[in-house]
């Protein structure tokens, strides 16, 4: 009964995991620094990714769940964060006169959204809605690989595909017709650290950044996990030895 049981358990997990994978378009699998038991964010890449987000994606996409102060985890210091925040203005208020007013953003503010509401976003994008990117890598199956593939997956449409107005052919978008034109092109941004800004490089960097944005506590989680597992393994062995000892007078 016992051995059969473990087989059953495993097959359950694996058959259901196939569900989570979902989709039928095969995604290229990249290795990410945040994968695995000891995964952590590639800070340099994620910082470049922030630049790509700010200079490119932020024209259309919000990052509503992330605050400037969160950038500390990515290795920015307080002054840098203040400076980044101050590049944006936010509407605050009402003040004592009952008026709303504009002020520079502070570290505690959320990333400033390019549009005030969904209608405005649609109006500026031919009716399409650029979704918030805060959770993008969690909100798609195999998210990090998907966003990377999406950003590098623009192609000329095959001849037999009829493109709808204002749509662009993308190998990895479900249905292949996406309302976002390829946002990246070589040398679109200029990296301060001298890294060559190829489409591939920018895509990787922005995926590193967005993966952090989706789960800023990922590193804490993995580090704590290791400690918890060592602790549990230790006590489980002790319990096992105790169990053997206590039962030995019966067997």
């Amino acid at each position: 009964m016992r051995s059969i049981l473990s087989i059953v358990l495993f097959s359950v997990f694996f058959s259901f995991s196939a569900l989570a994978a979902g989709g039928n378009i095969h995604l290229p699998e990249k290795e990410w620094s945040f994968d695995g038991f000891l995964g952590s964010f590639d800070r340099a890449s994620a910082q470049r990714g922030l630049q790509v987000y700010k200079e490119v994606c932020a024209a259309c996409h919000g990052l509503d769940l992330v605050s400037y102060r969160n950038l500390e985890i990515l290795g920015f210091n307080e002054n840098e964060i203040k400076a980044i925040a101050a590049e944006y203005t936010v509407v605050d208020g009402p003040n004592d006169e009952g008026e709303m007013f504009e002020r520079p953003a502070k570290p505690a503010d959320r990333f400033s959204n390019p549009f005030t509401n969904e209608q405005a976003a649609r109006a500026a994008n031919n009716g399409a809605y650029p979704p918030d990117l805060s959770l993008m890598t969690e909100a798609r199956p195999n998210g990090a690989n998907y966003v990377y593939a999406l950003l590098t997956g623009y192609k000329d449409a095959p001849k037999d595909v009829k493109m709808m107005d204002g749509m662009y052919y993308n190998e990895y978008f479900p249905g292949h017709q996406i309302a976002m034109a390829s946002p990246l092109s070589d040398d679109l941004v200029e990296y301060a650290d001298g890294t060559e800004a190829t489409v591939d490089q920018m895509a990787q960097d922005v995926v590193n950044f967005l993966s952090w944005a989706a789960e800023p506590n990922l590193e804490d989680r993995k580090k704590m996990g290791l400690k918890v597992l060592i602790f549990l393994a230790f006590f489980t062995i002790i319990f096992y030895l105790m169990k053997k000892r206590i039962w030995s007078d019966l067997h």
């Binding site: 009964m1 259901f16 989570a20 805060s134 909100a139 489980t236 319990f239």
Partner: protein, 420 residues
């Protein structure tokens, strides 16, 4: 000395110490229980974990359609160790079902539902129903796309009930669609149900302690030689099992926290956008497959008279798939409990396990093409197992000779060096 006096003082007024000593310490348990008997105490521990983490989540959670999704993300990002508490709660629900399903299959294999444990078993089935309701409503709370659309699909099922169906749905929704009142009542009920489960689990244990655990031979304990005191033998064995379980649990929490969830639930609920495939959580998939297997109206043959519409038929079948468990003591009336001594029953037990897995697999597939037929065949087999096979075997299966006592069985195994 002081302690002894205090203890006596309390004991004289509330016999808590003798109670604990009787039910946890001296409580005689069959000495041959295998590791399948670990899952009951594990289920109780997970229930406590769910309640503890749930209460902390509820301190930060906002049950309002405009705020629910973001309040969960605030827990994930800004609340100290909020991510940990939420991942424990989310994955804890899955662990709870794994453990309870194994606990149930243990009962099915060793005939634990037979006399004198029928009520114990039925209370277990009621707990399963409540757990399903609790988990379903909990999944609605983060108000993601699957929350909303899962709630819409499942609550709509009730409209299939003849005559009163539509009123029931309105009552569930608190309006005319899944909306803020729905979220509010689901939150309240999600908070309430686990405490009902605690009460039922208490009764479950009281009933258990009347006659004690069943055991792998299915032969009731007779003399002192058949048993060992619960403490320390089973306390230490349960602790070891708990350790192994927590390792598996921790692997999910820390290294695959979203593996058992659906990515669509990280998209805020949007009543205007329907997800491509609406799938429930994995632990509902077998029952979801049964629900979708009934694609045809049931009526009087060769006439147009429809007695049960397909949708209602699906609902009945799904409810029946769980409810039929409660009838098991009267469907399987074979005098021998354990599958160990019923070779035919044993074979069919494993067919049934495979059937349940097939149902789970089909439940996650779109309801189209060949999947429909596989789902229907597996559903038919599911009910065939309970309604036809078990009553048939009860009358016709020749069982192997039973050991005279638990102790005899243990000694015999020792002698032949058999491990299993």
């Amino acid at each position: 000395m002081r302690w002894q006096q205090t203890k006596d003082w309390i004991e004289h007024r509330l016999p808590i110490f003798s109670f604990l000593d009787k039910e946890l310490n001296k409580y005689p348990a069959p000495k041959n229980l295998n590791y399948m008997w670990n899952f009951g105490s594990l289920a109780g521990i997970i229930l406590m974990i769910m309640i503890a983490t749930g209460i902390f989540l509820a301190m930060h959670y906002t049950p309002h359609v405009d705020h629910a999704f973001n309040s969960v993300e605030r827990i994930m990002r800004d609340v100290n160790y909020g991510w940990l508490i939420r991942y424990i709660h989310t994955n804890g629900a899955s662990m709870f079902f794994i453990v309870v399903y194994l606990h149930i299959f243990r009962g099915l294999y060793y005939g634990s539902y037979k006399a004198p444990r029928e009520l114990l078993w039925i209370m277990g089935v009621v707990i399963l129903f409540l757990m399903m309701g609790t988990a379903f409503m909990g999944y609605v709370l983060p108000w993601g796309q699957m929350s909303f659309w899962g709630a819409t699909v499942i609550t709509n099922l009730f409209s299939a009930i003849p005559v009163i169906g539509d009123d029931i749905v309105t009552l569930l929704w608190g309006g005319f669609s899944v909306d803020n009142p729905t979220l509010n009542r689901f939150f309240v009920l999600h908070y309430l149900f686990p405490f009902l489960i605690v009460g039922l689990a208490g009764l479950h244990v009281i009933a258990l302690h009347v006659h004690g655990s069943n055991n792998p031979t299915g032969v009731e304990k007779k003399t002192k030689k058949d048993t060992v005191p619960f403490h320390p033998y089973y306390t230490v064995k349960d602790l070891f099992g708990l350790g192994v379980f927590l390792i598996v649990f921790a692997l999910f929490i820390f290294y695959a926290p979203n593996y058992l969830g659906h990515p669509d639930n990280y998209i805020p609920a949007n009543p205007l956008v329907t997800p491509a495939h609406i799938v429930p959580e994995w632990y509902f998939l077998p029952f979801y497959a049964v629900l979708r297997a009934i694609t045809f109206d049931i009526g009087i043959p060769f006439t147009d008279i429809v007695l049960i519409e397909a949708k209602f038929g699906g609902v009945l079948a799904m409810g029946g798939a769980v409810g039929i468990l409660a009838l098991l003591p009267w469907l399987d009336t074979h005098p021998v409990k354990s599958a160990r001594y019923r070779p035919t029953f044993r074979k069919f037990f494993w067919f049934f396990v495979i059937d349940a897995l097939v149902l789970g697999w089909v439940g996650g597939k779109p309801a189209e093409g060949v999947y429909i037929y596989i789902g229907q065949a597996a559903t038919a087999y599911y009910f065939f197992h309970f309604l036809i096979l078990l009553p048939y075997l009860s009358r016709n299966e020749q069982a192997m000779p039973l050991p005279a006592s638990i102790d005899d069985a243990v000694q015999a195994r020792k002698k032949y060096g058999a491990k299993k």
